[in-house]
Symmetry: C2
Subunit: 389 residues, 2 copies
């Protein structure tokens, strides 16, 4: 087992009606609030009004930044920082999914950044920095941004999509009922995102981090069981709650404690798809992951042991032919994504081969994929992209 450091300061209120803690969560930091959100679905669902009532009743002064994109842009970060500085905001309240949370984290860190070029900050931030406090209310189970420090910001001018570690939320309010209205497509994409966060770390060379492996398998099985229920019955509380519980832990680092870090190769490859084509992150991951698995299993059959465990412990597959079992586990994953209604080829998304070399070069920038479970070259990445057509 490898050494690790556990250091997650976020307080999580999980369950129905936990918005009752919103006032106290904000007030500990002050009364001047920047509320951030996306395209306005929270106005349709009534959540916006519910929050504004609490904030008005509590005497908070509220500023707003709306229209944060699904792949949040550096321009939104710049705007948020400007609002916070001009209005001496005490705390940011992010209401939405991973995109809104990621953008808000960058705003919180950017507030104290002394330079003018926030894209430079995002590209160069190392470790946690002094930040404005962040409180969030999650409305989709996907990224786990409510229980980690990371954020991913896009610069469409340069076709770059970069992840960085900004700050942990101080308080996250996770009420599964807020995800009842999430569409089928986004529910499925969110499930794929959660599963990817696990699989990126699960496929590692470390053989003996047993608690992490068992937790990873538990999270995968939780999603495999509950995503189809949530797709069929969007207001099934138990299914939505299990998905939300899973998403929160999946990206926290906890399922990788004690394991050798892999560099998260599918995320590296997917971020290029989103950066060049602005697609839904979870869909990109669902398309890439089975192809990546088949590629590395063929490239280095000595990694088969891990796929056999995946087939047995996650998918409940049985049999003595290990090579066959390994393949069947990957097939089961691909079928699961297909059954969830995810378009499973790049062709389906209108993406062709035109940028594969450029994307591969960016995915492996600085040789970051050389530390993956099975090390990848740019040529490998191009082959994996081609297998997704």
């Amino acid at each position: 087992m490898e050494n690790f450091i556990h250091d997650i300061p976020t307080k999580v209120y999980f369950g129905k009606g936990q918005i009752s803690h919103l006032d106290e969560a904000l007030r500990q930091f002050g009364t001047r609030v920047l509320m951030t959100y996306g395209g306005g679905s929270i106005k349709k669902t009534g959540l916006y009004d519910e929050i504004m009532k609490i904030l008005n009743d509590g005497g908070f002064t509220v500023f707003e930044l709306s229209g944060i994109d699904p792949n949040p842009r550096v321009e939104s970060v710049e705007e948020g920082v400007k609002i916070c500085r001009e209005n001496k905001v005490d705390v940011v309240l992010a209401v939405g999914g991973g995109s809104t949370l990621d953008c808000s984290k960058a705003i919180c860190s950017g507030y104290y950044y002394e330079g003018d070029d926030l894209w430079y900050m995002i590209k160069n931030v190392k470790g946690r920095k002094k930040s404005l406090p962040l409180v969030d209310i999650l409305t989709i189970s996907a990224t786990g941004s409510d229980f980690d420090a990371g954020g991913v910001i896009s610069n469409m001018k340069t076709n770059e999509k970069l992840g960085a570690s900004f700050t942990y939320p101080s308080v996250s309010i996770l009420d599964p009922t807020y995800t009842f209205t999430v569409s089928r497509y986004q529910t499925a994409a969110g499930a794929a995102d959660i599963m990817s966060h696990i699989m990126e770390g699960y496929f590692s060379v470390t053989p003996d981090s047993e608690l992490s492996d068992g937790l990873a398998e538990t999270i995968l099985k939780t999603v495999i069981k509950n995503a189809p229920i949530a797709l069929a019955e969007p207001e099934n509380y138990s299914a939505r709650a299990n998905l939300m519980h899973a998403e929160s832990i999946a990206c926290s680092g906890i399922p990788e404690f004690g394991k050798k870090y892999t560099g998260w190769p599918c995320h590296a490859m997917e971020h290029q798809l989103s950066a060049f084509y602005d697609i839904t992150h979870g869909v990109g991951l669902a398309i890439l992951t089975p192809r990546w698995m088949r590629h590395i299993l063929k490239k280095d059959p000595s990694c088969q042991w891990r796929f056999v465990r995946f087939a047995r412990n996650v998918w409940g597959l049985e049999g003595y032919d290990e090579a066959e079992l390994a393949q069947k586990g990957i097939d089961a994953l691909e079928k699961f994504f297909t059954d969830c209604g995810i378009p499973m080829t790049l062709t389906d998304l209108g993406i062709g081969t035109e940028h594969f070399e450029a994307m591969a070069a960016q995915a492996n920038g600085g040789g970051r994929l050389s530390g993956a479970f099975v090390p990848l070259t740019e040529e490998d990445v191009v082959e994996i992209y081609k297998a997704c057509l």
Copy 2:
């Protein structure tokens, strides 16, 4: 799934050599340190000298409280508070197992307690209070006191052993190599303690908290696999590391998130054994747990579904006769404890029936066992004690 709040501020450094972070862990709070420890085994192993070198090199001023008992006494708490107050201590450094950590937590809380009667404080503390900061270095895998706020203190004058929530450690240093010298008996008792922390919450009426149940089963399987290895090869790093990882999470509350609280009936019953007879906590739990299981399964057969899951998912047992499976899971647990070398009857420990009624009354003080998975009366508790003879 039930609502829950996750709020654990402890920073954990896990792995070989993490003592390199000790100086910075303490220095953030000041340079006047109370170092607490037990019977002096850390002097035999060399850990005491290693720590003192770091503290001396760092220019810390160190006070010491040694001789903390396996069931820590209120007198040690009183002495520690006195030393801290007289010497304006900035931070407490606990080096040892759960007993030393529990006592140190009570000292940290007691420091700011305004009354004179610390036993009164321990009996009446509610929630976390202002406390001196606590840093710990763990030397045995058992209680999980390194990653929770609780502590259990004994008053041998009144035959009382009480648990309370004091404060979370600010920093816990978990180096599995420090457990290489733990005796067979204490390694086995620690394993039983870890497993009990899981089973107390696992046997709950909530059917759908899937991540918590899967994590609980993972921790149990981790202990079942690794405790025998650690007993056979005390310096097997992987086995010791897996046990330490398991113990840290087991008592954190995380494996019970989303589940209805049970009141931890075996702990309630065991605390009376320790209070009246000063026995090893984990041994008392190992003796009680299988008898408690058989008692509640007989009392209320409708709880059988949970034991069937336990048999299948934890012990890997197969079969279609669910009543038989349920019994076999309990038998497997009892055999495991026996194989670990734990004395499995109260008679083995020289305990007779003389205090069973008094202990049962205290175990169920205030009707606390009425909320258990299967509610227990004092009569039930006496029967369970008798079954342990």
